[in-house]
Amino acid sequence: MHAPRLLGVVLQWLRVVLPAAWIVLQTHAGPVSVSVHPTRPSVRAETTRQFSARQHGACAPVTWSVNAIVGGSPAVGTITETGLYTAPSIPPLVPVFVRASISAPMASGETEILWQHPKPILNSLQPASFNVGRATIEILGIGFAPNAQVQINGTSIPAQRVSPDRIVVDWIATTSGSFTVRVANPDPGAIVSSGKSLRVLPPVSAKVSPTTRTMRLGASKSFSAYLANTTNKAVSWLVNGVPGGNATVGTIESTGLFTAPWAMPGSNTVQVTAVSVADPRARSSTTVTFVNPVPELLATDPGVLLIGPGTWILRGRGFVPGTTVKLGDEPVLASFLSPTELGITSTNPALPGGRITLKARNPDPWPASSETLVVRVEPSLPILTHRAAARFLEQATFGADPVGIARLRQIGFAAWLDEQFALPRSSYKASTSSSDSLTRQQAEFFVNAMRGSDQLRQRTAWALSQVFVISGVKTGQPRQMVPYQNLLLEDAFGSYSKLLRDVTLNPAMGVFLDMVNNDKADAITGAVPNENYAREVAQLFTIGTVWLNPDGTAQRTPEGASIPTYTQAEILETARALTGWTFPGKAITRGHNRENYSGPMIPVEANHDTGQKRILGGVILPAGLTATQDLDAVLATLATHPNVAPFISLRLIQQFVVSNPSTDYVARISTVFRNTDGNLGAVVRAILLDPEARAGDADNAPLNTFGGHLRQPVLYLTGMMRSLGATVVDNNPVESLAAEMGQKPFYAPSVFNYYSPFYRLPSGPLAPEFQLMNSATALVRANAVQSLITRNLDGNVRLRLTALQALANFPDELVDAVDHALLYGRMPAEMKAVITAAVEATEGSTERVRTALYLVATSGKYQIEH
């Protein structure tokens, strides 16, 4: 039985047993009595009730008390002077009586109060909702009686009443839905609260998006997890069950960003799983299928590729069996070693710029190419630096081509020279044409200059052709020019004396300087021997006009005047000594042979002046000598003149190396000239190996203020083309570019060549080639560069810019490559900065290459070979 009910029974009993006392008390009072109304009311805890006192026979002030305590007490309830009673919050331990008393006359009345539990009120449920299953629910409110019961959907649930305002229940919800929770207080005054809604949610669920995914190895992609029936959205991620994954299966961050491994795991799929933090039972997985990665290239091993065939390792990641590799444009043999290593077997080319690009490509599934890797290519075991080799070749050939540089770096100067001296000569195809056109020969000249392997011989012949000049202006027929140029090629490394004799007796030279059919004085016509050859052979081919010191400087009188080497009278006499020569052909005793250029001129003694002559240098040729004897004497006189060594040495030094050689340099070469009896091969070797020629080879070589020489037009063109690995077609018109710059091959304006060896800059230094340089030709030179690099000279030059174009997205590398190709790494930093910025600002890969090439090739730094 409940406690309140027991209390009610006790009180009921008391009312039965004790009525006499009431009656006695009231009766005893006589006519005066007091009664309290209402009688025996029920009052809920902490509620109030208004009492009133009825007086019979009196009308006195009433004093209210509870259980004899005026005004009551918290334990039994309180009452105001007006009779307003407030029930205590907890059940009173004794019966409670409210009494109204008057004092005059003394009387009182009372009634018992029946205390009841309050009505419980629910304020909140915590949680108000939860997922199906067991839950501890905290019920907050007020008026919960100690034995209060909890009802969920009318069913009482065991509950722990913690306090009048808190009850905790532990409940297992088996179904989802909406439930009503009530609290019931027991007797006395049993009462049920109004309901509060409790929501039971279905279980938490998780779903990962996307549900399947195919992705590249090495790539990163984000996954999302969607959780239902929970407000706690936190998930943890697993890859193949491993929290956060690992390098083998891929890793995943808390954000869901999954990074695939670079190598294929055992299977080509993995599971990516999201697990609800709120409810670990809630989880969802997705299958990731891996496909080939985009390969990444890091480096080659060794880091610099060696020119020629070889094997090496390409390092990177994302390689797969079947990864292919291109070196430049060419596929190379690549074997899969691991996802980070490929073994490469290739033949590495020598390229302009010394750099090559690498690209790897993975096959299906999902084929993909790597970014470009730029690698340097160098010869193996070089004994010369790139700069040293390139400078040397610039001086010794028609240009420093990448293949030639690589080879020279391996064999060195001396071996290279030996090789060159031994090579068979390229020569012009024989021609009997008497048409006034050397177009074919000009094209042939550039073909040989670009492709011929006997570069040193050709270059030497080209130099000699600018000393021993004939010109198409007067001798412009192939039958004239071809044998002459072949003569220079043949004699290029031989003795100077032989060259002088061959040149002198060459019929084209005979025509050009009027020695052919130059007969003794003719009394009938009044004509006397032509002085032309006699003068120019002295002035231009042998000794010059003034006496020289062995170092090439002019000898001076004490008064400072130069000293002439010959007089006009000696020229006249020398002309007489050189009479009597005609075209080759039948030996004749009088008259002239008809034009024929197939061999040396032959003498016709009847046409020879046999008188005594006092020739150059005052040498007396006695009367009666033959044409040959006189000629031999003249040539011997010239060839043995002390001027010849410095005279020829200076001109060749200027052609090969520098406009302003030191006097010591000239003196050293003069010595070689004399010591070798004018062996031109030895002279050329000495010129090229001289310390002054090689001084610029060192990486930190000091700048020579007056150093270098302007690239003559022909060498400007061939040098640029060879450095860039270009080729020319057989019938090329390259000569037209050279001609516009003032050097039409085989057409020097006169026997004085295209320029004078004595031409000086106004500031002082010798600068022969500058005679062709003015601001008009400066623009022409720039425009020739433009023609070459943009139009390949209208298609007649094959200038493949592919290797450089591959660098277009790497402006620094591109400019370095052009520097390497044209300036051998000597580009000053400020120049590099300007050109790199210009390249970066240029749109288009081809245009970028052209911009870089144009700016370097037109720069003074390039135009002056130094």
Binding site: G526, N532, F770, A776, T777, L779, Q786, V834, Y854, H866
Partner: protein
């Protein structure tokens, strides 16, 4: 070198020697040109040199027919059979003293100009350090210029005056450049490479040849602008090497001057005068075009250098020399027309130079050899009168004027006197003539009479 100039139509401009030191920036020059406000100077004067490279044979350029000292027969005797011009073929001109000379038949176009008082001959001019006689020459008592018979030396000396490194045209420009005020365009202009003739101490010449006027590929596109700006920037770097600096200067000047002259020429309008389509014709046409825009360029004084090559007629001379002089005569006549068209009558004097004459005695091969004194042609209505000025040599081998026996004439007028006469007309004050021509004081009469 064969001349392919005529297949081009545009002008190309360049600078010889040092380039020139413009006082103003290229932009400022351009701005001045666009203003087009510079009036033509009424006192404008120009000298035009035609240099005949190789040594023109004066003996067959001006031939005595009937003069006080000789006749055509004298000439024919000295020349021999191979290279003598027939008397009947010679267009005659008459000197003020009544002497009759013939011009080479190819110079017939100049005969009319002589009759109009617009052309004269200056006889027997050559390089000299001081006056001398044949006897002095024979004995070596009086110094003569070095290497008298060498092309290279004598070409140099005719352009510089013996012993000097700068050109007499350039030195005259040094004296007179102030007359050009603030004009940045150089006083000296060459249509033929880098002649030392125009190199002064302070003034630097420009040169024009036919062809493009600017940089190919400078098409105003973004890429081209990037390239050209970088090019300009690179040109400002000092490499510390003389030759590199010189190359950069030529390029710098070429770009700037190309823009300037191009702008001026575009403002000039077409010439009416038709020039012969020859090397010299094209060069003189270019000179005429520049003369036409002298106002736009802001010029008061200009010196031009043009040239022909091929005069080294050692052999087979008659046909080649005839062709050369035809080119010369026709081009000069056309140029005279252009002078009149441009209203420059009296303001332009055109003159020839050549490194030496040729032996009067023929050489084997039907030609002639290097000699010394020779005749020059001057043209322009500023001439005092049409005449044959100076002292014509007696064409006698081993005669009083022949220093070698082959008909090598001892000059009777020096290059310095010839040049000083031209420079004086051009405006060089008498007091400055010795500065421009240091050898001039050696001669009693500093100036010749033709101007």
């Amino acid at each position: 070198m064969k001349n392919h100039i005529t297949r081009r139509t545009l002008l190309r401009l360049g600078l010889g020697g040092l380039g020139w030191l413009g006082a103003t920036s290229p932009l400022a020059r351009l701005g001045r040109l666009q203003a087009q406000a510079v009036p033509e100077d009424p006192d404008y004067k120009a000298l035009v040199c035609i240099f005949l490279f190789g040594g023109n044979d004066g003996n067959n350029t001006v031939i005595p027919i009937q003069t006080g000292i000789q006749t055509h027969a004298t000439y024919a005797a000295a020349r021999g059979s191979g290279i003598t011009l027939a008397r009947a073929s010679l267009p005659e001109i008459r000197a003020s003293n009544g002497d009759i000379y013939g011009l080479h038949p190819s110079l017939a176009p100049l005969q009319a100009l002589h009759q109009q008082g617009r052309m004269s001959v200056v006889a027997n001019v050559g390089t000299l350090l001081r006056p001398l006689t044949k006897a002095q020459y024979d004995r070596g008592q009086v110094p003569v210029p070095t290497n008298l018979f060498s092309h290279s030396d004598q070409q140099q000396q005719w352009q510089t005056s013996p012993g000097l490194r700068t050109g007499w045209g350039g030195r005259a420009a040094d004296i007179l450049q102030a007359l050009n005020g603030t004009a940045s365009f150089p006083t000296g202009l060459s249509t033929s490479g880098n002649p030392v003739f125009l190199n002064g101490q302070n003034t630097k010449p420009a040169s024009v040849t036919n062809g493009g006027l600017g940089l190919d590929g400078s098409d105003g596109s973004a890429n081209a602008n990037v390239r050209d700006a970088a090019l300009q920037q690179l040109l400002t770097f000092d490499s510390g090497m003389s030759l590199i600096q010189a190359a950069n200067r030529h390029m710098t000047d070429g770009i700037a001057a190309g823009k300037e002259l191009n702008a001026a020429l575009n403002s000039g309008g077409a010439l009416q005068t038709v020039f012969p389509n020859t090397g010299l014709g094209s060069q003189l046409e270019q000179v005429a075009k520049v003369l036409k825009v002298r106002g736009a360029l802001g010029m008061s004084r200009q010196i031009f250098f043009t040239s022909m090559g091929g005069f080294d007629t050692h052999s087979n001379q008659l046909p080649s020399h005839a062709a050369l002089l035809a080119e010369l005569g026709n081009a000069m006549a056309a140029f005279d027309n252009a002078i009149r068209e441009l209203g420059l009558d009296g303001k332009v004097v055109t003159f020839t130079e050549s490194e030496f004459g040729r032996t009067c005695q023929p050489s084997t091969g039907v030609g002639s050899d290097h000699a010394w004194g020779s005749h020059q042609i001057v043209m322009g209505s500023a001439l005092r009168s049409a005449d044959v000025y100076g002292t014509f040599p007696l064409l006698d081998l081993d005669g009083p004027d022949d220093v070698t026996g082959r008909g090598v004439w001892l000059p009777t007028a020096s290059l310095d006197q010839y040049a000083a006469t031209l420079a004086s007309w051009f405006g060089v004050p008498d007091g400055s003539l010795a500065t421009v021509f240091p050898n001039l004081p050696n001669f009693a009469q500093p100036k010749l009479a033709f101007l």
